[in-house]
């Protein structure tokens, strides 16, 4: 145990000695300070309801975790009355919190049909069944061929559109006198999930902007995902991989490794402890960063959401899976640059493989289909950082949003088998560490 602790402390001392870790820490502090400077101001829910009605034909297209910009999926001309309180003649169920009513009149029922077809196309695309809508394009012929479309379909599409804007529950009444007119009752059970009902300010109120296309919950989920994926998952891993890649070649230098080998610690344990020390360092670093973000946000805004802390595990697992590649090459060549490059290349390669596989499976790349067995095999072998990144997204979505909202916005999560992704990633890491240990154990130093 003393040997393990000595090596862990040594890894930390070595890390602290590198300037780059201080730069990373400083950036982390800026991120934490940014979270601490956030504040949210609720805006009138009627404005959100009006905006939802006026943007019925627009859909935010997902681009990774970031919901992206609004794209028009269907041309809709609709006149929107001023939102109001429910009236007895509306015949809405009683007991719905904060129920507001808006009356809509479409220029043409055909436009409601078009909206229905576009919505179905988008839904199918979200389930990975089609790709027409993924390009923000018009509904396909197959979608249009699903007629007939009647009042029930009209009600369904409108209910879905208002739910997508964060209203719940949503009740749609058809005007018996005109198929173009609808009365929509929208409840506000989850005010934090209401899109366009909030203004965010940052830098302690120095800057502010209205969240027109986001709810507060979505905004926070995306912001935290950005920290987990872009800061920790990309910049962080880049820096840490380059930094730790140097550790083993330096350790194996003539005259330095001898000092360790003459101690009563086996070679395998030396390498294993060195690896675990690095992984623990990264885990602590991300846990501190994410805890800082969570606490800063909670203290200043009162929103205590702890899902981000779980992302420390996935970000660390990604590092833990890629770092052994740098270790193996570092042990074989005792060359710092080659070790760094090997780690970065393995990371890049698995990213390319996963992207290609996703594109082939969604039918977006037809020509690469013949390579599918090769890509599948590479996918099976290599670590799955992209899949683990999606786990982050799902954790954060579930942390900030209700289950149905998270599923609606970010898709039903288990398109990835987390056990398979995590298990094979861990297996890859174990294989690389074992090879490194074997190499070091069998060689004369």
């Amino acid at each position: 145990m003393n040997a393990f602790l000595a090596l862990v402390r040594d890894v930390w001392r070595e890390s602290r000695d590198k300037r780059v870790i201080w730069v990373l820490g400083l950036l982390g502090l800026v991120v934490v300070a940014f979270f601490g400077s956030l504040s949210f101001t609720p805006v009138d829910a009627d404005a959100a309801l009006r905006r939802a009605a006026q943007t019925l034909g627009e859909q935010r297209m997902r681009q990774g975790m970031f919901v992206g910009t609004m794209s028009r999926i269907s041309a809709v001309r609709v006149s929107v009355a001023e939102p109001r309180a429910p009236r007895p003649e509306d015949d809405f169920p009683l007991g719905i919190d904060g129920l507001r009513v808006v009356e809509l009149e479409f220029a043409d029922t055909g436009e409601v049909d078009g909206l229905y077809v576009a919505w179905r196309s988008v839904e199918r695309m979200a389930r990975g069944e089609g790709r027409a809508a993924s390009r923000g394009g018009a509904p396909s012929e197959a979608d249009a061929a699903q007629a007939p479309i009647g009042p029930e379909e009209h009600r369904a599409v409108l209910e879905s559109r208002f739910r997508a804007a964060g209203f719940a529950p949503v009740v749609v009444r058809l005007d018996p006198d005109s198929p173009r007119r609808f009365v929509v009752g929208a409840g506000v059970e989850r005010p934090l999930e209401l899109r366009g009902a909030c203004e965010v300010s940052w830098c302690f109120g120095a800057f502010s902007t209205a969240l027109e296309d986001h709810s507060q919950a979505e905004f926070l989920a995306e912001l935290q995902a950005g920290v987990a994926e872009r800061f920790a998952g990309f910049i962080g891993i880049l820096v840490l991989l380059s930094m730790f890649a140097a550790a083993l070649p330096e350790l194996l230098q003539k005259g330095r490794f001898d000092l360790l080998l003459a101690r009563p610690v086996g070679r395998v344990r030396l390498i294993l402890f060195k690896y675990l020390g690095a992984v623990l360092f990264v885990l602590l670093l991300w846990t501190l960063l994410f805890c800082g973000c969570v606490v800063a946000l909670g203290v200043t805004t009162g929103f205590w959401k702890f899902g981000l802390i779980g992302c420390a595990l996935t970000c660390t697992l990604v590092f833990a899976a890629i770092y052994p590649v740098a270790m193996l090459v570092g042990a074989a060549t005792r060359h710092v640059t080659l070790a760094s490059l090997a780690g970065l290349m393995a990371w890049g390669l698995e990213g390319i493989v996963q992207t290609l596989r996703m594109l082939i499976e969604s039918g977006q790349v037809d020509r690469a289909t013949r390579w599918k067995p090769v890509i599948d095999a590479a996918y099976w072998i290599l670590p799955k950082s992209s899949d683990l990144t999606r786990l982050n997204q799902w954790m954060l979505a579930r942390d900030h949003l209700a289950a149905d909202s998270a599923a609606r916005i970010y898709g039903a999560a288990p398109t990835v088998d987390w056990w398979f992704a995590g298990g094979t990633t861990a297996l890859f890491a174990a294989a690389m560490v074992t090879l490194t240990c074997l190499f070091v154990a069998r060689r004369d130093w």
Binding site: N2, A6, E14, D17, D258, L259, A262, P264, D444
Partner: protein, 305 residues
């Protein structure tokens, strides 16, 4: 039980270089053993084989009765490699605590020992200084301290005074003598023959991976069959001629000295009788000794022949 044992150890590297050939030796507890040899003779390889840093092609080694292949054999062992490098992010103290930790000592137990050792090697003022700022001599002293940090029973020192000034060398010698007094076994690799001569109980000479001589300094430097006799008066050519005819080649050595190369030790009594019969007084009698350097060089020359 011997502290260090090597039995018929051979090592051939993948490059084909035969670094050790059937080396067998044993070092007893409390002994200082010096290994001499020119560069490339295999001295460092032998130490590394004993410490399991290099695996032998053939043969067996053991430390304190435990096979070197077992990590437990290094539990009570300290090692100062030649050209050692400390991670430069360490301070003198943290480096010692690190190596103590690897030997199984907790920081609490190791801290006072580290402080004492740093004082002992003259680095007390640099306890919290980074190693990257150390001179070669300071690094060497720190290396000695790290070898001693786990209170070892067996010490392997590869050129321990390399880079240290003469005052420092004397200090190191004193330190090693103190360690011997504590009963530690010391295995010393050194180019400095005077150092080996002053410190070591036994010496081995390694030539091309072969252990060609092993023995105490006295055994190695003793030139068994050359008798040095100091007479009461100068020996003339006639006496030298008589001695040569009776016993073996005799030459004058100094004003009243004679050196006689004998064939057998038993001839010493006859030489004395011979001289006294001729009315010559014997004032001194000694077997001639060679310097260690001469023995070392002679061993190397034998190899060349």
């Amino acid at each position: 039980m011997s502290a260090i044992v090597a039995e018929a150890v051979s090592k051939t590297y993948r490059s084909g270089v035969r670094a050790l050939r059937e080396v067998s030796l044993s070092v007893e507890r409390g002994e200082i053993f010096g290994l001499l040899g020119p560069n490339g003779a295999g001295k460092t390889t032998l130490v590394k084989v004993l410490l399991d840093i290099v695996r032998p092609s053939r043969g067996r080694t053991a430390l304190l009765g435990t096979s070197s292949r077992q990590t437990a054999s290094r539990q009570r062992v300290g090692y100062l490699p030649e050209d050692h490098r400390f991670p430069d992010y360490h301070t003198a103290e943290s480096a010692l605590l690190f190596y103590a930790g690897l030997s199984g000592l907790s920081p609490r137990a190791a801290r006072p020992r580290a402080a004492a050792l740093l004082a002992e090697v003259g680095l007390a003022d640099s306890t919290h200084s980074k190693v990257r700022g150390f001179s070669k001599g300071m690094k060497q002293r720190l290396g000695l301290a790290q070898a001693l940090i786990a209170d070892p029973e067996v010490l392997f020192l590869d050129e321990p005074t390399d880079g240290i000034d003469p005052v420092g060398r004397a200090h190191v010698r004193t330190l090693l003598e103190a360690e011997r007094a504590k009963g530690r076994t010391i295995f010393l690799n050194s180019h400095l023959l005077s150092e080996v001569e002053q410190l070591c109980d036994r010496v081995g000479i390694l030539r091309d991976g072969e252990l060609v001589r092993v023995g105490t300094i006295e055994q190695l430097t003793q030139s068994e069959r050359t008798l040095q006799v100091t007479l009461s008066q100068p020996a003339g050519d006639a006496l030298l001629g008589e001695l040569s005819r009776a016993f073996g080649p005799a030459t004058a050595a100094g004003e009243r000295g004679v050196e006689i190369a004998l064939e057998r030790d038993e001839q010493i009594d006859a030489v004395i009788d011979f001289l006294r019969a001729r009315g010559l007084g014997v004032r001194g009698l000694a077997q001639k000794r060679q310097s260690l350097e001469a023995v070392f060089l002679a061993s190397l020359r034998e190899g060349e022949r």
